[in-house]
């Protein structure tokens, strides 16, 4: 199962020309969980070692894309605009992973790449 927002984020990435690798097979459709509270829950984003080393800006670009979509999504709603997003980063050859869970206002989403970089560096 996947978060209902996964489909929307996939469309956004596709429109921006960012290629993502889905977990499921081409013909397979995972059911989505649709919670009806006002918190926007994003999909878990997995970032492989190759992506982080070859294209470090990709995380920034992806999060900018998501936050600009969310600014539109929350337009007219009273603040705070609560969001939740999880990022899993693959660390080099030893197959260790770092799991960053973000819960907060959209305006704080811009800090995620720095946090991910710092956590990755500290754990090296």
């Amino acid at each position: 199962m996947q978060e209902s927002s996964t489909i929307d984020i996939r469309i956004l990435l596709r429109q921006a020309g960012i290629r993502e690798t889905p977990l499921e097979n081409t013909s397979e459709k995972y059911p989505t969980i649709s919670g009806k509270s006002s918190v926007w829950v994003g999909p878990i984003i997995f970032i492989g070692t190759a992506v982080l080393t070859q294209n470090p800006e990709l995380l920034n670009i992806t999060l900018n894309l998501i936050s600009s979509y969310l600014y539109d999504f929350f337009r007219g709603y009273p603040e705070p605009h609560k969001t939740k997003l999880e990022i899993v980063v693959e660390k080099s050859e030893n197959k260790e992973y770092i799991h960053v869970i973000f819960e907060g206002d959209i305006s704080d989403m811009k800090n995620i790449p720095t946090v991910v970089q710092e956590v990755t560096r500290k754990s090296d």
Partner: protein
């Protein structure tokens, strides 16, 4: 500020001015002190203008002018929002707070949708915030429900394909129409009581106190034969 791109704004400008004028005019009657007969009069004026805007939108869709179609949809949302607010005040005067709540939540939803539809309505962000303030000033603290679902199959309201297979995103506007994700197959998983629901229509409508069932808003005793208030 509104982006008044002259290429297409010029065509909608007269209607836009009419809408702004109507919003300014009707807002003077959106309060408790103005008499109900004037509020009803203004309601009829708004309904007429909404029909004009819809006609304009239909014409824009017919000639495939997406900017005009989306702008008129946004204007329609503003007017409908204010119409709902006016209906809320009228419902209060009719001693019907349940309908008043429904109208206020509809007003909020319409205004939020209008803001998303096009920047032509960006000057109404404050009006939208006002509607949220009214919720807390006019009604007691509410309790809401939130439903959790597992969706197995859903369709795009714009093109009818499986949602996610096309490039349309729910909540966005395409040729004067909001895109929705139409759920075709789902299983409910849970219901929770929450402070911040996605839909404020999902609320507690009655409550039992000392063995007496009461309407949550009026606090009147509910008779077993009474009809439930509107959702």
């Amino acid at each position: 500020m509104i982006n008044t791109n002259p290429d297409y704004f010029i065509e909608i400008e007269p209607l836009f001015k009419q809408v702004r004028q109507a919003m300014d005019d009707v807002s003077r009657f959106c309060n408790l002190s103005r008499s109900i007969e004037f509020q009803k009069e203004k309601r009829d004026d708004l309904i007429r203008l909404i029909n004009d805007v819809r006609q304009f939108k239909s014409n824009a869709i017919r000639v495939s002018n997406e900017h005009l179609a989306n702008m008129s949809l946004a204007l329609e949302g503003c007017l409908t929002s204010m119409l709902n607010e006016l209906e809320m005040w009228i419902a209060f005067k009719n001693d019907d707070p349940n309908t008043a709540w429904t109208q206020l939540i509809n007003a909020q939803s319409c205004m939020i949708a209008a803001l998303r539809a096009h920047d032509i309505t960006s000057d109404y962000e404050d009006y939208c915030q006002r509607l949220h303030v009214l919720e807390h000033c006019l009604f007691p603290p509410m309790m809401f429900f939130s439903a959790g679902l597992v969706v197995k199959r859903s369709e795009c309201s714009i093109c009818g394909s499986e949602y996610g297979d096309c490039d349309h995103i729910k909540g966005k506007v395409y040729m004067g129409q909001y895109c929705s994700r139409i759920i075709k197959e789902c299983s409910p998983t849970e219901i929770s009581i929450v402070d911040e629901p996605a839909s404020k229509h999902c609320r507690v409508i009655s409550i039992s106190e000392n063995g007496i069932m009461r309407d949550f808003l009026t606090w009147r005793k509910i008779q077993e034969t009474d009809e439930l208030p509107p959702p």
